[in-house]
């Protein structure tokens, strides 16, 4: 069997296993669906109640998707996958097989990508039902989402391999790191209403640029040129995040295998 054929088969095996596990963990799946749906409905109710805010609902939907749903699903999901492999002792087991390092990484990326697509479909179905409109290019929106998912998965590998030793730590770590990033990323409040100091800090938060890029496309119909700064920032961050994730994963292969 050619190496590329083997690696592809292994990638698919890892991705399918993760999706099957996700499907079997019914309780987790329910929370995975309830969290963004509830947020969307609550935001919808608040915006509908205030005429002056109604125009902002399109941006709110985009923010909930990129800033909250995908953050917890892709970043949190990746950290949880690695913590679970450690806890169950399956990580050293995998290292005794001919599993190619790239196959495991790509398998996790593929599974998270599929889950993210399902979340996009679910959230935007609700959003469209309550009157949200998507204004921009589907292709550009897809590119922003893809870069966001890759960034989150890369960060997930970094945090999961370096810090999360147990599943319980995942929840605490995500809350501790994630919620401040969500607030500073403009997920809940527009950047403009924040104090000047917070606005300055928010500029280095990659989630702000993800939010602004996707809101720009989805809510304001902006094109590539208008969003060039956000897209460039996102592209660089995505590269850095994937690089960090891969480097951390390779470090993990060298450290955990002897335990």
């Amino acid at each position: 069997m050619h190496t590329s054929h083997l690696v592809w088969g292994q990638t698919m095996a890892v991705a399918q296993r993760l999706l099957l596990e996700q499907w079997r963990q019914k309780r987790g799946l329910i929370f995975w669906a309830v969290f963004p749906s509830t947020m969307m409905l609550l935001f919808g109710l608040v915006y509908a109640h205030n005429d002056s805010m109604r125009a902002g609902l399109d941006a709110a939907a985009a923010g909930i998707l990129v800033g909250a749903a995908l953050f917890f699903s892709c970043l949190g999901g990746t950290v949880a996958v690695i913590a679970a492999e450690r806890e169950r002792g399956t990580l050293p087991r995998l290292l005794t097989t001919p599993l190619h390092p790239a196959a495991y990484f790509l398998g996790v990326v593929m599974a998270q990508l599929l889950l993210a697509l399902m979340q996009v479909f679910m959230l935007y179905s609700i959003a469209l039902l309550i009157g949200v409109q998507y204004h921009g290019s589907l292709l550009l929106g897809g590119v922003v989402l893809l870069l966001s998912v890759f960034s989150y998965v890369g960060m997930g590998f970094f945090l999961g391999t370096r810090f999360a030793r147990r599943s319980e730590e995942v929840v605490v770590a995500l809350s501790a790191i994630g919620v401040p990033l969500l607030v500073l990323g403009g997920t809940f409040f527009p950047l403009e209403i924040m104090p000047q100091g917070m606005q300055a800090v928010a500029q280095i938060n990659p989630m702000l640029h993800m939010n602004q890029a996707f809101k720009g496309v989805a809510a304001y119909g902006k094109g590539f040129y208008e969003l060039r700064f956000e897209l460039t920032f996102l592209l660089v961050f995505c590269g850095l995040s994937l690089g960090l994730g891969i480097q951390s994963y390779l470090h993990l292969l060298g450290v955990d295998k002897i335990k």
Partner: protein, 313 residues
């Protein structure tokens, strides 16, 4: 005989700790070799090197005649590892676990469709086909773990204390299954704290101390190296008197962890032993033929720290 594994003068340091100190071992095709030693003697390090989870600092390891260090990660398919804790996916069914690992080893769909039911049948897992692995008992999980280790027909099956975490009944069942593997010609490297396990399953045993093999051979060969045919285990308030009497009788005496063992040159009856020790304040005595446990204590030596499972001595 074709050597499946040849380990020659391997050294390994963890910092200043010399874990393997010229470790050598050869395993031929179809052999079941037991690696016995106290905790920390280097058994796990040997297994990690064989499974390519760790590299040696000096010495040579060959698998099927080829240097292990020069083999790619795909050579991991030559070894199947089963540890004491079943590292499986609890939300998947037994066959799904087998299929997953089969795909990692590159088995085609056709091969998987033959191999998975074959192993499910061999390890009697069919009745649990619809049960998630996390809901199986420890013994059944361990059965599946051994099956997973065999999914790719490895040239060497490494069993690292496979029955350490299961109850007595499950242990007996696993022994029966491992005997079946041995009888069908599977080459196995086994580590264990249960000497009875090694005695029952292994065609050859290597005794380790301080990172090297101090004695190896079949169980009868190792037993023949004990200066006695039977052993009397004696309890007394005054071991010194009994040891002097044993020396007068030409018997060898060993005292470890407060227990006195007398190596008897002939297969003496209990009555003969009691009569010989008359007047020496013996409170209890038992006589039995020498076992691997006696060989271990005799050959591994005074410095051996007696590990879990060997504490019965």
């Amino acid at each position: 005989m074709t050597a499946v594994l040849e380990i020659d003068e391997v050294h390994k340091w963890f910092g200043s700790h010399h874990v393997l100190d010229g470790f050598s071992l050869r395993i031929d095709q179809g052999e079941v070799v037991g690696l016995l030693g106290s905790n920390g003697c280097g058994k796990s390090t040997v297994l990690n090197i064989v499974c390519k989870l760790l590299s040696s600092d000096a010495g040579q390891v060959r698998m099927m005649g080829e240097p292990l260090s020069e083999l790619s990660y795909r050579a991991r398919g030559w070894v199947g590892l089963c540890t004491q804790h079943s590292a499986l996916y609890p939300d998947l069914l037994p066959a799904e676990n087998l299929h997953f690992f089969a795909r990692l080893y590159g088995l085609s769909e056709k091969e998987r469709k033959e191999r998975v039911p074959e192993l499910m049948h061999r390890f009697e897992l069919e009745n649990f086909a619809g049960t998630r692995v996390g809901q199986l008992s420890g013994g059944w999980q361990q059965r599946l773990h051994v099956a997973v280790s065999l999914i790719h027909r490895p040239k060497l099956l490494v069993l690292d204390e496979p029955t350490a975490a299961v109850d007595l009944e499950a242990r007996m069942e696993l022994w029966r299954l491992i005997e079946g593997l041995r009888d069908s010609g599977t080459t196995i490297l086994l580590t264990s704290h249960h000497l009875a396990e090694a005695e029952r399953l292994c065609s050859r045993v290597a005794l380790m101390r301080s990172g090297k093999v101090v004695a190896e051979g079949s169980v009868p060969e190792l037993l023949s190296r004990i200066p006695g045919q039977a052993v009397a285990k004696v309890q007394s308030e005054n071991n010194e008197v009994i040891m002097q009497r044993a020396l007068d009788l030409g018997w060898q005496a060993r005292q470890r962890a407060g227990q006195l063992r007398l190596l008897l040159p002939h297969d003496l009856s209990l009555r003969e032993v009691v009569e010989s020790l008359e007047g020496t304040q013996v409170s209890a005595v038992s006589v039995q033929p020498v076992s691997l446990e006696d060989a271990y204590l005799e050959l591994v030596g005074e410095n051996a720290s007696v590990g879990q499972g060997l504490q019965d001595v």
